[in-house]
Every structure is written in structure tokens, then in C-alpha cells.
């Protein structure tokens, strides 16, 4: 594959940083990591552009003008940005300053007469292939697109001069989110719950099934976002976690494309739903038409035998 001359990475979390730095090396002759926070963590690229500390006085957003300045000076061909919330904001801010758009949520990136990415659109109903031929292309990259390279080398560290923002955003407080940390993307088996569950107590049935077969529990977007019965890190689909389990059991889930794309690569899909016309039955290997309040206890009882 053709390589670009210069590829930059902007990331805020270690895992994404390592993936993107390794991606940058695949796509570019020279690589640089633009980093704020713990200096010691910034390795793997040819150059590290170090922005400064992260604390209440300086959150990543405060470095936007410094990053814009750096990118305009260094003119990389491509900037790969972590697809976290802050990464998305930085990508849009940077692209706007460069007079271009963002290749968003790339699930594949190749160099072919410019930068060509694939991404899901229409809630996962389609894959769109997009090309940017901007002098500097900005792309946000989905997790798992690049594999983390083995060992990071010590980089040439360059301190980036701080350019003060013209607008005023003051950080008063940063608190760690209560929720749990769960990595559904790595789960081999997933039991997922949907709106067919009508009370949080009923979730126990799904949890028991998951425990019995060694699965993680996932859910649909409304269970996390609207009902708030589960942490957002557990919702599967185009706007949540794109999982790749071997076995997926969907319970009380209608089977809308936005959710199902998140498990479409599963080897086996099992569905439990009281509506025999539910979409999920068209996309499953094994299914049972029945009320989850009957099916799950019966299934658990037989599993225990």
C-alpha cells in the first residue's frame, strides 16, 4: 500500500493511543503523537509533541489552539484521532480550522488517491466508503481498527508552545464516573437484554443465565440510555459497543439493525422474544417464541440439570 509522508495521532487514552500509533506507522513514513498528560506514557511514534499537563486548569480542550497551530505548521497528511468524546470534539475543531470535514468513525482506512475510509451509516444499514483528498485529512478511528504494535520506542520529544484559547471554558470539577468497567468487545459470549424486560428486577434472570454459561451481560441502547438500568459501556450497536462474540443471546430485543450490527459477526445468534414476527428471528440461528418470564426460568432450570 502507498504510504503517506507524515501521519499524526491525537489520543487521550492509552489503549487507543497505542492502536493509533501502530496504525500511523502502517500508513505513514513518519509518525508523531500529539499528547497531553502523563509524559511517560507517550511512546511509540517517531516524535511526541507534548502539549502539557492535564488538570482542572488545563483540560484537553484548552490545547485546541495549540494543536491547530502545530498541525498548520507541520502539515501532516493525515491526523488519526481517537473516537472518544473529547477526541471527536478535537477532530471537528481541528478540521474546521483547516477548512475541511472529518472522516468519522472509520472502521477501515486505506490510502488510495487520498485517504479512503469505511464507516457505518443509517444506523448500520449501510457501509459508506468515503475519500478525502484534503492536504491534511482528519479522521476519527473506531477501536480495534489497528492492532497495538509490540514495543514502543523512545521518541524524540518536542514541547508544543501553549496558545491560549480565545473562549472561556473553566473546569470546576472532574469526577470519576461511578459505573463499572466492562469490556464487551472482548467477550466471547454475550447475553443481551432489551425492552422486553419491564422492571430492573427481571434483569436477574438474564444475569443468572449469563453466569451459568460464562457470558457477559449486554443490552440495547434504550436499556442504558433511557431506563438507565445498565451502564452505557454495556450497550451494543452502532452507537455503542461493536462486539464480536462467538455466541450472542438476545432476550426481549426486537432486532433493529442499529443494535444487531453490533453482533452481526457472531458465530451463533439465539433469540428469545414473545412476538413471533420480531425482526430478530430473521437474523438468528436458534430462537424461541415466548415470554422471557417463562422461558428464562425454565431454561435456567434445565441448564442446572
Amino acid at each position: 500500500m502507498n504510504k503517506l509522508a507524515k501521519v499524526f495521532v491525537i489520543a487521550e487514552h492509552m489503549g487507543a493511543m497505542q492502536e493509533l500509533v501502530s496504525g500511523a506507522a502502517q500508513l505513514g513514513e513518519s509518525t508523531a503523537l500529539v499528547w497531553a498528560g502523563d509524559k511517560g506514557q507517550a511512546v511509540g511514534a517517531d516524535t511526541v509533541y507534548y502539549l502539557g499537563e492535564l488538570n482542572n486548569d488545563r483540560i484537553l480542550e484548552h490545547y485546541a489552539p495549540s494543536i491547530i497551530n502545530l498541525v498548520k505548521t507541520e502539515q501532516p497528511n493525515l491526523v488519526l484521532v481517537e473516537s472518544s468524546r473529547k477526541g471527536r470534539l478535537m477532530a471537528g475543531t481541528l478540521a474546521a480550522a483547516l477548512g475541511t470535514s472529518v472522516l468519522a468513525d472509520a472502521t477501515e482506512i486505506i490510502i488510495d488517491n487520498g485517504v479512503v475510509t469505511k464507516r457505518m451509516v443509517y444506523g448500520g444499514a449501510a457501509l459508506s466508503s468515503e475519500r478525502s483528498s484534503a492536504p491534511t485529512t482528519v479522521a476519527t478511528v473506531s477501536p480495534g481498527v489497528f492492532e497495538t504494535a509490540a514495543a514502543g520506542k523512545a521518541a524524540n520529544l518536542v514541547e508544543v508552545p501553549f496558545v491560549a484559547p480565545a473562549t472561556s471554558v473553566k473546569c470546576r470539577e472532574r469526577k470519576t464516573k461511578a459505573g463499572e468497567s466492562v469490556n464487551l468487545r472482548a467477550a466471547k459470549r454475550i447475553v443481551a437484554v432489551g425492552r422486553g424486560f419491564t422492571a430492573p428486577e427481571e434483569l436477574k434472570l438474564a444475569e443468572q443465565l449469563a453466569a451459568a454459561i460464562g457470558a457477559e451481560v449486554g443490552c440495547t441502547r434504550p436499556i442504558a440510555e433511557e431506563e438507565k438500568w445498565m451502564d452505557k459501556a454495556r450497550y451494543i450497536g452502532v452507537s455503542g459497543v461493536m462486539a464480536k462474540p462467538e455466541l450472542y443471546i438476545g432476550i426481549g430485543i426486537s432486532g433493529q439493525v442499529q443494535h444487531m450490527v453490533g453482533v452481526s459477526s457472531a458465530r451463533t445468534i439465539v433469540a428469545i422474544n414473545s412476538d413471533k414476527n420480531a425482526l430478530i428471528f430473521k437474523q438468528c440461528d436458534y430462537g424461541i417464541v415466548g415470554d422471557l418470564k417463562n422461558v428464562l426460568p425454565a431454561l435456567l432450570a434445565q441448564l442446572g440439570k
Binding site: 471537528g92 475541511t100 444499514a125 473546569c171 470539577e173 469526577k175 430462537g287 415466548g290
Partner: protein
């Protein structure tokens, strides 16, 4: 405080069909207000109600044909906003996020005096979550996404952001562009009365003669195709009898 909420007309996703060549057929899909924009409108209306200022203004960008649809206009205006401004041209149907944001910025500048712009998390169709971030930079406003709470504090806003692992509480000086999460509020469902009243609210569509319109972005869409389908066995048992459950379990055990 003059508040704008940005909204996008998107095709009803349930009615998007896939043609035999894997391209999408949008012809049966009626336009509706993007699902995530409803939270932006609601956030704008709640702030207006809290401050007693004028009703928020909606701004949209899209094809003239789409935006002239009165059902769509009512769907937009029946949720508490006072007026709708659209940048309309048939070339604006599938422009990229940068071009969309440029047109929104042109409209917002033309409206004048706007202090707060609220965007949804992403559009209901393409969902690149970039229009808000790009717009904020183009306007030179304070610019934040993932906003899960907005409270007025004198002439400033207190804003909470829900990030992957942490919550940030920020003090924002206006003007600002805030992109809100879907859990910032529960969007109201308009009744018949609101829908009827929406028909009487002022709607202005601006064309290339009225403002500096950006008709093209710089991202080329090479193709948009349905992903390849995986063949599934579709062995479905009807009813939750002991036998059916036993059969399901037999199959399940093969893969455990």
C-alpha cells in the same frame, strides 16, 4: 438569551429498503426530525422556560423539496420552539459535516445576536457527531460536546459533560455551541394542539441569494452499500413448552 437549536430532516430508518445491487432505496422513507435533535430542541426550550427569554429558534439545512414539507415543519416546530429558519437548496441533500456546519453558521450569523447554539449528539442518519464541534469552531464560540446538563448561572452556564470514564463540570462563558447527549432530558411529545399551533409559526427558507451558501463539502462519498448478509439457520420454536426449551438448550449446548 437568544437560543438556537439545530435540527436535521432525516429519512425514517424503518422505511429504508435495500435494492438487489445493495444500494439503498430511500424513496419510501419519509423525512422526520432526527431522533437526537429532539433532545437539543428540548434542552433549548427548557433553558428558555427557565430564563423567561424568547422562544428558541430552530435552524436547519437541507433540500428545498424536503424542507418545504409542512408535516416536517410542524414536527420541528411543535416542540416548543418559536420559529424555523432553513438553508435550503436541492444541492444540500447529502453534503458533508463541514458544509452543513458552514451553512448553519451562515444562517446563525444572519439571524444575529445568537448566544447559545444547541446541537444533538449526531444526526439520525449519518451520525458522524461532527456538525456541532465544527460549527463551534467556525463561529468562534466556546465549543463542547457530550453535554449532559446545562444550568444558567448569571450570565454564564454551568455545563456537565459525561465522558467515557469521568464527569466534567465546567463554567462556560457565552456565546457557546453545546452538543448534548440523549440522556440530558426526555424530549416532550407534542399533542394535537401543539401540532396545529406549529403550522402558524414563522418559517423562513433561505437560498443562495440570501446568504453565502456552501454547496459542496470536500469529502467524496464513493459508495454506500448494505453490508453482506450472514446466512442464519433461523430455527425458531414457537411456545415456551418444556420440549421447546429442551430443544433450544440442545442446540445451545452444541455451541457452549
Amino acid at each position: 438569551m437568544k437560543i438556537v437549536a439545530c435540527v436535521k430532516a432525516v429519512p425514517e430508518e424503518q422505511d429504508i429498503a435495500i435494492k438487489s445491487d445493495k444500494t439503498l432505496d430511500l424513496s419510501k422513507a419519509e423525512l422526520k426530525v432526527g431522533q437526537y435533535d429532539l433532545n437539543a430542541v428540548e434542552a433549548a426550550v427548557q433553558l428558555q422556560e427557565a430564563t423567561g427569554s424568547e422562544e428558541p429558534i430552530l435552524v436547519t439545512v437541507g433540500s428545498t423539496k424536503g424542507l418545504k414539507n409542512s408535516k416536517l415543519q410542524k414536527a420541528m416546530l411543535s416542540r416548543g420552539a418559536g420559529a424555523l429558519f432553513g438553508v435550503a437548496d436541492d444541492s444540500l441533500d447529502s453534503i458533508d459535516a463541514f458544509a452543513t456546519a458552514k451553512n448553519l453558521a451562515a444562517a446563525i450569523s444572519k439571524i444575529g445576536g445568537v448566544e447559545l447554539v444547541i446541537c444533538g449528539e449526531g444526526s439520525g442518519d449519518i451520525y458522524s457527531q461532527q456538525v456541532g464541534p465544527i460549527l463551534g469552531q467556525l463561529l468562534g464560540f466556546a465549543n463542547l460536546n457530550a453535554v449532559s446538563r446545562i444550568t444558567l448561572m448569571g450570565d454564564k452556564l454551568e455545563v456537565e459533560r459525561t465522558l467515557e470514564n469521568e464527569i466534567e463540570v465546567l463554567e462556560v462563558t457565552l456565546p457557546a455551541v453545546l452538543s448534548v447527549t440523549t440522556d440530558i432530558n426526555k424530549a416532550r411529545i407534542p399533542g394535537l394542539k401543539e401540532i396545529l399551533a406549529a403550522g402558524k409559526k414563522p418559517t423562513t427558507l433561505w437560498g443562495a441569494a440570501d446568504l453565502e451558501m456552501t454547496k459542496e463539502g470536500n469529502i467524496e462519498v464513493i459508495s454506500t452499500l448494505a453490508p453482506p448478509e450472514t446466512q442464519r439457520q433461523q430455527m425458531v420454536f414457537e411456545g415456551d413448552s418444556e420440549e421447546n426449551i429442551a430443544q433450544l438448550l440442545d442446540n445451545l449446548r452444541k455451541v457452549l
